[in-house]
């Protein structure tokens, strides 16, 4: 267990392992994405009220749900950075912040497009939307703190700390904003039912799309982590060998 844990801290080990996983993950991602998109956009029965617009559900829900995972991920990686000073954990904190900002922005944008057709407005100051907007601001804060601090060791620790504080904050903001004003439908308990209203026709493509988006998240995290590893380890021997063998 501990051997595995300390191995995980080695960027080289991660680079080699992820290099073996990456093709499979990318292949699985495209498979899920292709089946999911075609099914969701062409074969899912139209919503009797929302018509074709409802199909954006299959993009918005997976993206919005994964965008909520970034702060917990960064807080966990940040704790590991502060406690065990693991190099890889800091790389995760660093790459997750801008990626999280992009996912959050995309969740807001796709929600907005859905909103103009169903609510009749691009934006409302509703609880869900507002808390996601503030999550976006907090992620931008982590990104800009990283770029403002030049010393990379201090930047690593400072961003780790800010990620932990931010994670607590996102939770508090979420509850306070929900209490303040809410119009968004409450989160539905996800039930794999076979009844008419929410039958397999509706949820199977959603599961596929959630799988596709989660795989996309994994692939993009791994790819940017590998980039960052190469950049940080550019003076080490194994990276030079890697470049020579190209």
């Amino acid at each position: 267990m501990w051997l595995w844990f300390s191995k995980l801290g080695s960027p080289k080990w991660f680079y080699e392992l992820s290099g073996r996983w990456l093709p499979w993950l990318v292949a699985a991602m495209f498979a899920f994405l292709f089946v999911g998109v075609v099914w969701a956009l062409l074969f899912v029965p139209q919503d009797y009220q929302q018509g074709l617009t409802n199909r954006i559900f299959y993009v918005h829900v997976p993206v919005a749900s994964i965008s909520l995972a970034f702060f917990p991920l960064m807080a966990i990686a940040g704790t590991i950075t502060l406690v065990w000073k693991m190099k890889l954990a800091d790389i995760v904190v660093k790459t997750a912040a801008p990626l999280g900002a992009w996912f959050t922005a995309f969740a807001l944008a796709s929600g907005s497009i859905w909103g103009i057709d169903t609510w009749g407005t691009w934006w409302i100051w509703d609880g869900r939307l507002t808390s996601l907007l503030f999550q976006f601001f907090l992620l931008i804060g982590v990104v800009s703190l990283r770029s403002a601090l030049e010393d990379s060791d201090a930047a690593a620790k400072a961003c780790a700390l800010l990620s932990i504080v931010g994670c607590i904050n996102v939770v508090v903001i979420k509850y306070s904003v929900d209490w303040w004003n809410t119009l968004h439908q409450p989160g539905t308990d996800f039930v794999l039912s076979s009844n008419k209203a929410n039958g397999p026709d509706i949820w199977v493509p959603l599961v596929l799309m959630i799988g596709a988006v989660y795989l996309f998240f994994a692939v993009s995290m791994i790819m940017s982590t590998r980039n960052e590893i190469l950049e940080r380890e550019r003076r080490s021997q194994w990276v030079e060998e890697l470049v020579d063998n190209l």
Binding site: G141, S144, A148, A154, L161, L162, V165, N169, V177, W180
Partner: protein, 230 residues
């Protein structure tokens, strides 16, 4: 821990508090400026929006809260900066006493100097903005409990950025989003008590936020200071 002259932590806490208050007393600009900033920002709203008393009455609570929040954030810059520049912050980090209490002392003195005057003058400005008279007490009490929370949260951001040359905007980007829960509770309290809700409920929530941030925020600030000053 072996300490040469063993001053109790409570004495160190009090002397830090006293020292910071004395410095503030001797540099009166630092005391007057946040207060004037608050006053000026509030006076800009009637000019920009409308001098109409009804409209102002509607937005008064929000305007006062935002102005207090901005005044607090801008004055935070002086919390650790002078100490960082003259090296006394390093002495504070090296002292054998828990940094938590030293940071808390600095936070308390900072709030007494820059937060409390804003809270005290808020009923006057509320009157000028035509806030309904029955809300004065609500506004005053929520600001009294809420502004120390803003200071405590802000000090985390200040501690993280103390080593940076120019940091006005990054401090705002980091700390302003964190203030949302306090802002919501404070402004909701004013609106909802007008509709008949009990004030005690909102005071209890703000009090809980204050206690939680007294317990946790100085820990985070202390950790951030150790990162920023090496």
């Amino acid at each position: 821990m072996t300490v040469g002259n063993s001053t109790p932590t409570s004495a160190a806490f009090l002397s830090t508090l006293k020292r910071d208050l004395l410095i503030a007393y001797r540099r009166k600009n630092d005391v007057v400026n946040p207060f004037m900033f608050f006053f000026i920002v509030v006076s800009l709203f009637p000019i920009a929006i409308s001098p109409d008393a009804d409209k102002l009455g509607e937005i008064a609570a929000g305007v006062l809260w935002i102005a207090a929040l901005l005044a607090g954030m801008l004055s935070m810059d002086s919390l650790f900066r002078a100490d960082y520049e003259d090296g006394s912050l390093e002495q504070l980090l090296l002292s054998p006493h828990p940094l938590y209490f030293m940071v808390l002392a600095k936070n308390i003195s900072h709030w007494l100097v820059s937060g409390l005057p804003v809270v005290l003058v808020s009923p006057v400005l509320a009157y000028m903005l035509n806030l309904p008279a029955e809300s004065y007490m609500t506004l005053f009490l929520t600001l009294l409990l809420g502004t120390p929370v803003l200071s405590l949260l802000g000090s985390i951001g200040v501690a993280l950025t103390v080593g940076l040359g120019s940091r006005g905007l990054i401090l705002a980007v980091i700390t302003l989003p964190m203030n949302v829960p306090v802002l919501i509770t404070g402004t909701l309290a004013v609106q909802q008590t007008l509709n008949g809700a009990t004030l005690a409920f909102y005071l209890a929530i703000l009090g809980a936020m204050l206690l939680a941030s007294i317990a946790l925020a100085p820990l985070a600030s202390a950790a951030a200071l150790r990162i920023s000053v090496n």
